[in-house]
Structures are given as C-alpha cells and as structure tokens.
Amino acid sequence: MANGSEFRTCPITGKKVFASTQNLIWINAVTAVVFILIGGIMAFLVGMTRWPAVHLLSADLFYRFLTAHGLNMLVFWIVFFEIAGLYFGSSVLLNSRLAAPKVAWLAYILMLVGAVLVDVMVFTGKATVMFSSYVPLQADPLYYLGIILFAVGALIGCGIFFGTLAIAKAEKTYEGSVPLVTFGLAAAAIIAVFTLACGAIIYIPTLLWSLGLITNLDPAVYRLIFWGFGHSSQQINVTAMVSVWYLLAVLTVGAKPVNEKICRFAFLLYILFIDLASEHHLLTDPTLSPYHKMANTSYFMYLAVLASMIHALAIPMTVEVAQRKKGYTKGLFEWLTKAPWGEPGFPAMIFSLFIFGFIGGITGVVYGTEQLSIKSHNTWALTGHFHGTVVGGTTLAFMGLTYYVIPLIFRRELIGKKLATLQPYIFAIGVILITLGMGGAGTLGSPRRHWDITFADAVIPFSFDPAVLFFTTIAAIGVITAVVGGAMYVGVSVLSVFFGRKMAPNEAKML
C-alpha cells in the first residue's frame, strides 16, 4: 500500500479502485452502519414511548435516548456515509489515487473519537440537551468537545475530497469535465465547508461557556448560528442525496443525464442559495425583523426549491429516456412499469424521490412560510417533515446505494438479495406512515420532544382532541414498520460485508 498506488480495475465500470481508497470507503461506510444501528434501536424505544398505548421508557431515559437518536442518525450515520461517498466520488469516479490517505485516516479517527465521546456523554445522562443543545440548557463540556472533534474530522474529509479533485486534474486521470455525480458531490462538499465553519463559530464559544470561561452567550444568537450549521447540514444531505439518485439511475437502468448543463446549473443554485435559507427555523422567534425573515425564507429559499424542482424532472426523465432506448415504448408508462422494481436500487431511488419531494419537500415549503410556521413550529408535524426529507429521502437513497457498494467496491456478494429487494418497500411504507401520523398529530398541536402527550402529571389538567391519539397510533405502526425495514438493511449489509462470498477479481456481476 506504499503511497496508495495499488489499484484494481472494476470489471463492470472500468473504474480504477485504489486499495487505499477502498479501505477508507469501507471503514467509513461500516461505521455509518454501526451508527444507524444505534440510532435505529433508539428510534424504536423512543417511538414506543411516544405511543401512549405502550409508553415504554421513563422520562429520563426517553429524553436521553431521543438526544441519542437525533445525533446518531442525523449526524453520525449520515456524515460517515457521506465521507465514504466523497472518497468514492473523487477517487473512484475520477480513476485517481486519493489525496493523503493517512490524513484521511486521521480524519476518520477524529470523527470516531468525537462520536464516541458524544455518545458516552449522552448515554450517561450528562448531555440530555437534544441534538440542537440550545443554550442555556447545558451539557458536559466533553459533549461539545466531541461535536467539535467530529466536525473537524469531517472538514478534513472534505479537504481530502478537494485534494483528490486537484490530483486527478493534475495527473489527467479523466478527460474534459468531471462526471455529474462528482460535480454534485463537490457542491455538497462546498456547502459542507460553510456549514462546518458555522459549527465552529458556535460550538467553540459554547464549549468555553460550558467550562465557565464565557458567561454571556445570547440564546438567540446561538439559535441563529446553530441553524446556520444545523440547517445547512441538511442541504449537504439534499445535495448528496440528489447525486446518489443520479448514481442509482446509472446503476439500475444505465441512465444518462439528458442535459448536463441543466443538472449542473441546478447544483449551482444549491450552492448559492440553499445556505441562506436557514432562517426559517427562526420564524416564530422574537429576534429577527419580519423583513429579514421574509427575504431569507422567500427569495433565497425558493431559488433552492427551484433547483429541487429541476432535479425532480431531470431524474425521472433520464430514467424514461434510458428505458425507452431499451425498447419499453408502449403507452405513456411502460418505461416505468417495466423498470427494475425487483432490484433494490430502483425502488430505493424512486421512493426516495417521491417521499423527499411530495412529503418532505412540500411540507417544508408550507411550514417555511411566515404564518404557517406559527401552526407548525415545534409540533410533531415538523418531525414528520424531516423524517420525509432525511429519512425517506436521504437515508433511503443511501440504503439503496449500499447494495451496490458491497459488490462493486467491497467485492462481496450480497447475502439475502430477496431481503435487500424487499427492504426499500418496507422502509418506505414505514416512513410514509410515520410522516403521515406525525403530520396529522402535529397539525392538531401534538408537540415534538415530549414524553407524555396525555399530560398525566401536569398540575393543570389538559387533554388533546382524540384524533391526536389516532394519528399517534398511525405513527407508531409506521415506527414498527420502519424499524423492521431498518433492521433488514443493517442485517443484509453487515452479513454481506463480513460473510458474503468474496468475488473473483474479474467477476462482472453486480447483484
């Protein structure tokens, strides 16, 4: 593995896969799966507590585990997977060696140490602050330190990505422009740099504050900068997810972007506008002026929405064109009905697109208006919205991709192909039920982050409209279904990675 120059050539795509890149993709992806496992167990326990029929955990454990669920899923699972994706998108797709593999390992170790530190603090009850850790609710200083280490590691990972782009260009490992997927991931990495800078600006003073070195940290300023970090991270996820859609369209139907210019322009819109739209988190806050809020959430946000609408046409269009070329031209929809629905990547991509766009996206645009934010702020409808975007959208797309990464990059044959094919369907149904249940209950006022919606211990008695219970039950059925889907994902990927049949070097088999 001297200077990371050993490589093999992929028998299917002809790409060069360098050993050092392969190891780094492996370790980051496997770690991501470990964190989705932790987050998934928490999801089940938290979900079963929110359901009054079961009300599983004590209040103390509920809030602890909810904090753990948010962090392990939204931050650790997603970011480890994205770092693996960045190494893939730069080194593998550009046929280039990875810049500084040793530094990439350092980045990995920083992220891992940070994540473990955070989890230890959260599980021992020293950081029950939710992933947003709003000041002045205070966690143990080690919690903030853990987040900072994790963020620094992720930032170095982005640096490795840009370094690899530079090497590939200098060593002329590709001709002309970079592939669209790499372009999309580059957009995600650029957004990540801004995001992580916001993270540093807010977490470093917060760490000092928790150590008692700073006393006057304005909670409103914290919220503003925190969401510069917290919302922008979601934009990294969106951008990475769209790139994965293009990738899955290639892997499942061999689709080719219909118009590279338009797709790339849409990614450019993400870079330019998406970060500016973070203030919709503060629409009901008593801090910013309405002009500020409206400019931020209308002009800027809708240009990012425009980009999503462009991708929403471009992806199905590439699939349709590819399918029609294969001869599926009967009627309006033969291209869709004859698509590879029996292969995990295709349903994962289509459901991800559908849930992200029609559930996550539309609720996001609705709740992001100044007045309707009053109706949804901090309710369970919000939780429903982002389970549509980051679970039904990003997570499902990443799950679908995993089934191709295992044979193509890790050279192991999948164990349980049938389970893998069924998995996106089950998970998608679960997530749809969760979002509908949470959306319904939240629209009637059911709060997020709440241990007991029957208010049994409250001094002043209050109970909800019984319809809240009905929607909560739907969400609970969704939780069980999605957890089954999540377990299938973890089961298939862990078994295949460790025990799957090793594939021969020239074996040109994908699934």
Partner: protein
C-alpha cells in the same frame, strides 16, 4: 453517464419540455415569493414584528409587578390575573410553569409580552395550535385578540428539562 465525464461539448440548449418545466417551476417560485410578503401585509396573524431585548431578571420584575397589580385569585398556587382592557399582559415561562393564569375578554386587544427567566420554552396555544419560540433575554411581543370565549391551554413544546411534559398554562376568555 452520470459517473463518466460528459462528451466534450455538453453545453447544449435545453429541450422544449425542459424549458417548459423550468418556466413553470420558476413562475411557481415567483408566486410563492410574492405571497409571503403579501400575506404579511394583508393577513392578520403574524409572528412578533418588533423584537425587543429584556434581561431575564428585569422581565421577572415587571411580570411580578403585573401579577401583583391585577391578581384576582389563585389556583393550585398559581396566581390568576385579570388585566384591564388593552393592558400589556406578561406571561412568564420558567421550568416548568406558565405564570400567571390569565382571565381575558373576548374581542379585546391585548399586547402580550412572553419571555423566559431560565431556558428556552415553547408557547403552544391549544386547541388553536399557535406556536412561538420563547427565548430568555428576548421579549416575544404579540398583539392578540381573543375571538371566542372558553378555556385555552398553553403547553410547552420546546424541551426544557425533565419536567417539560408537565408544563401547562391556562387562559380563560369570557
């Protein structure tokens, strides 16, 4: 393909369908962009428009004075306060209680000052489902006119510690 470099001249004009879709999408975004400020002007329910800062200890002082002045009773140790028409109303959030219980009149406009003396809290008025973020050090000023009589509850929907789920307040409108 999206995983290989595009052919040399990929800077191609858009197809008819693509142009049509992008135009529709852009128009829709413009409609949204116009609707947001428009609803702020013609609509009657907006979040706080003149944010103010207030130190938590000062807020405690003014809200205590307000309770002292207009107190008409007590329920389970929580003061019940009936402010005169059009008065400034102070509703204090602290872990895990909303003070005081308010008695208001239908059709009368009140200027609410809602703030916290400790952590973040979430003002969530039930069953109307209207929600505002309550931030210590900042006064969330809202002009509110009750339009129907009855008992309303305020639940807390921002996590504020282990007793968060017990934090309930009350407004009685006659």
């Amino acid at each position: 393909m999206a995983i290989t470099s595009p052919e040399k001249y990929w800077w191609k004009p858009a197809d008819k369908e693509e142009k049509l879709w992008i135009t529709i999408a852009l128009l829709w975004c413009l409609v949204l962009t116009i609707m947001m400020p428009l609803m702020h002007v013609i609509g009657t329910q907006n979040p706080s428009v003149n944010p103010m800062k207030i130190r938590p200890q000062d807020y405690r002082t003014v809200s205590e004075a307000f309770i002292e002045k207009y107190k008409v009773g007590e329920e389970k140790g929580i003061p019940i306060v009936e402010p005169p028409d059009g008065a400034d109303v102070y509703l204090r959030a602290q872990a895990w209680i909303w003070t005081p219980i308010l008695k208001l009149k239908k059709g009368v406009n009140y200027k609410f000052h809602i703030s916290s003396t400790d952590l973040m809290h979430g003002f969530s008025l039930m069953p109307l489902n209207m929600n505002f973020q309550i931030v210590p050090g900042h006064d969330n000023i809202l002009n509110m006119t009750p339009t129907s009589a009855g008992t309303f509850h305020i639940i807390c929907n921002e996590f504020c510690g282990i007793g968060h789920h017990t934090m309930i307040g009350k407004i009685i409108v006659s």
